[in-house]
Symmetry: C2
């Protein structure tokens, strides 16, 4: 078995370019690293194009994952620590990496029923926040998460890491603002928007599902048009002096309350 | 007016060492950067030891802050972009920095009344999570945040940034586990612990203040002893398959519900 050692090897390069938006777009695959994350991808049956393993870097948890990668239906490249470190986006490379297909859904596939919640990330800019939102939405049982407009990439390594594996379980879609509004109308989805002022508290919502909850960008919130077209505005009341909550925290509080109410309504 | 240009200048070095735990401990000061964050420190009257300004790097928002720094009761060092970049922990330095005193409270100063909540971060390891927790606690009107045991430093640049200025407003304290339990007894504070399994939902709590809410570490949660000594355990019910919520998100949901109930009880 040949072990790749050169950081300039063509396979090392093909993994490494997946750290960039351009590389991911051109190849249609993304990089996922670490035993835990890859374990989630394997368990979910996520489509994998290729794998890379470095035996010398493997921690106890990643050994079993390396074996699963070696016995899969994809090429598995064995690498030296030097070559593996060159493809890795991690400070402490784990010794296991996959090139996974950037699989998303079409909006038309999302057909929410009356107890369903779809989370909409509207031009979020921070990869960590988007990943945390995917993790929260999956944990709370949302049907899907859609990225509206010019949102940060689902498949950025920082986003993928922050999802803690939820990215391999929650249906994801990308859509333009116009496409989003068309979908809400054709699917008869109530739109709720999280805003920093002027909305009602999450617990005083009177929900009638299906519901989609809009999360605005960290710096600018939601565009005025989105607030105006929403059927309801939701605000977490502020008691202190700091200007705002972190976007992912505010969304987490609202999503918890919304899923709780939708659940209560249908049991 | 002399402009410091050398990255090896003694004042540049004194700011730069504040990026390390050791430097902060030895000097008792920490680094805060950026117009918005420093504006919060100035508005809150936070004690400042020294300031650094680089006119060539100032954006529109930071110009007024630079003026306030120049007219303060502390030395204000003028620096070239080269010197300023050498002290900064930011990828895109803002041109304003302060060395601020690491001011915390003694536990004995924290005297919670019946409607008060104190947040306890138990051995949190992620600076961003601790900072987000400080921001959330301040926003929701908590009385204070205490770091129990071997918790990440309040004054790490990543923590400070994630607080969005709340660090200059919310009383902070450090305490050993033993000191924490003594304090809860002497102040008759009910202890609630966030756990991933086996607790009640946050909305079904029956609260009698004052309350302290324990947030465990990202990887290990709370030690068994803390769960056993708590008067109540709180769990966010999971509907999806991802193993857990992000620690700061789970805490945000619980803290929102707790402050809401404490508020309702006292109005």
């Amino acid at each position: 078995m040949e072990i790749i050692d050169s950081p300039y090897n063509q396979y090392v390069k093909r993994f490494r370019v997946l750290q960039t938006v351009k590389g991911r777009r051109e190849q249609g695959v993304f990089l996922a690293e670490g035993g835990r994350l890859i374990g989630e991808a394997l368990d979910a049956g996520w489509p994998i194009l290729a794998a890379a393993v470095c035996t010398d870097l493997l921690g106890p948890g990643a050994k079993a994952i390396a074996e699963r990668l070696r016995s899969g239906d994809w090429p598995c490249y064995e690498m030296s620590p030097r070559a593996f470190s060159a493809l890795s986006a991690e400070k402490t490379p784990s010794g296991v990496a996959i090139a996974a297909i950037c699989a998303t859904r079409e909006m038309a596939e999302l057909r929410p029923g009356p107890s369903h919640l779809v989370v909409a990330a509207w031009e979020l800019r921070d990869p960590g926040n988007l990943g945390t939102l995917v993790r929260t939405a999956e944990f709370l049982g949302a049907l899907a998460l859609v990225a509206v407009g010019d949102c940060v990439d689902f498949f950025d390594p920082k986003t993928v890491r922050a999802t803690a594996g939820a990215i391999f379980r929650l249906p994801l879609a990308k859509v333009s603002p116009e496409g989003f509004w068309r979908w809400t109308e054709s699917e008869k989805v109530s739109v709720l928007a999280g805003v920093s002022d002027g909305g009602v508290t999450p617990e005083s919502l009177d929900l009638c599902g299906p519901v989609t909850f809009l999360v605005g960008s960290e710096a600018h919130g939601l565009p005025l048009e989105a607030e105006q077209r929403a059927q309801g505005l939701v605000t977490i009341p502020r008691r202190g002096k700091v200007e705002s909550l972190n976007a992912a925290i505010a969304a987490g509080i609202c999503l918890y309350e919304i899923t709780r109410q939708l659940d209560k309504q249908h049991t």
